[in-house]
Subunit: 191 residues, 2 copies
DNA sequence: GAGCGTACTGCACGATCGGTCAGTCCGGTT
DNA sequence: AACCGGACTGACCGATCGTGCAGTACGCTC
């Protein structure tokens, strides 16, 4: 009898190693050899499980894109309460897919043309568009952009610039609160 | 007699080509060959003007780091007016060094150990630290992080996600205003 | 035990990588 | 005319890149 497979040998740990490498070094900077070494396999094995380096990227990012699409599909953004709930789930998404978000946010512009990346970009545009009320000003739009980009980036670069590292479970509600503060039109502003 | 040199032949356009390549493809993704082609020179010429690829990166990022250090050195952050003035100049800095900021923000984590990058990171930490008032809460700190990262990223990824592109000169004051709104403790917030 | 599919590997390939080096061209001095 | 130094180049190097391919070890079913 076999319990939970102790080492999820094979493709799944290749995906994890690839994700780490892509996030740390970018797609071109990461080599199949180093990914294979990190996963404890040979370079040939990588290309046995995945047709190409691009296919490996696709496999690594796909779950995050699926999750984001689901999140957007079930979102209710008609009232402030729904929007706030969505933002909390969005922050959860960011936490759940840190590495994927890092790849998309930092190295996405070099990956235009990769289907996964293009899909992810389209979803981000949709998030921004649906969050924006009909009567939003340009300034509101800029604030939304800063909020979304900032939230993603605080998470992605947390280990890089954070002087005093907040533990994830303290940062999560704070990030959700700040996001809500910036996105909800509640915040009164002069003129 | 010679007016302003029409094509600033040589090293300076190599630096520009390199900056564009690094910003678009990352340090490892950019090759000396492609940089040379973009500058209309041979690969050998790149290594004639710069000792190594790393030296080229240094030359490309150095002016931005110098400007940021100057900006920080002359900053007066003791009162809200001084802080607001600093933020406007910070936004100007982001606009003036878009490509350098893109390299540092997107690919900086892969460039740890490069002296220019480490210096830039240290300056960013100093900006965040000096902006933060003594009585700032964790939530304030998160909002500052979102604001700074978001501002940088809105500029860096503007061409990627912006649905309706704002011209620079409209975006600039909006970004400064939003930054001030987020950083200055002026914004009233419930509990 | 023959046969088969899955997981995995070593080896070799052409291309490209960053970098070295000897040499060419050319305007300015002497 | 001889010389010099800066700008620039082509040929070449060893290493590494992504990828193709033949082969091996193992567990399963007839």
């Amino acid at each position: 009898m076999q319990y939970a497979r102790p080492v999820p040998s094979g493709a799944s740990q290749l995906v994890q190693a690839a994700l780490r490498s892509f996030a740390a070094s970018g797609f071109e900077g990461a080599s199949l050899q180093r990914i294979a070494d990190a996963a404890g396999l040979s370079k040939s094995s990588v290309l046995y499980h995945f047709d190409s380096k691009e296919a490996l990227l696709d496999a690594a990012l796909r779950p995050a894109v699926v999750d984001l699409r689901d999140l957007l599909g079930t979102a209710d953004l008609d009232d402030p309460a729904g929007t706030q709930a969505f933002l909390a789930r969005f922050v959860d998404f960011l936490f759940a897919h840190r590495l994927e978000v890092a790849v998309l946010v930092n190295h996405g512009s070099a990956l235009r043309g990769q289907p996964v990346v293009d899909e992810a970009d389209a979803l981000v545009v949709e998030v921004a568009h649906r969050l924006r009320p009909a009567d939003a000003s340009d300034r509101d739009a800029v604030r939304f952009g800063v909020a979304l980009a900032g939230a993603a980036f605080v998470l992605v670069g947390a280990d890089r610039w954070a002087t005093e590292q907040l533990p994830d479970e303290e940062l999560r509600p704070l990030l959700a609160a700040v996001l809500a503060e910036l996105v909800l039109p509640a915040a009164p502003q002069p003129a």
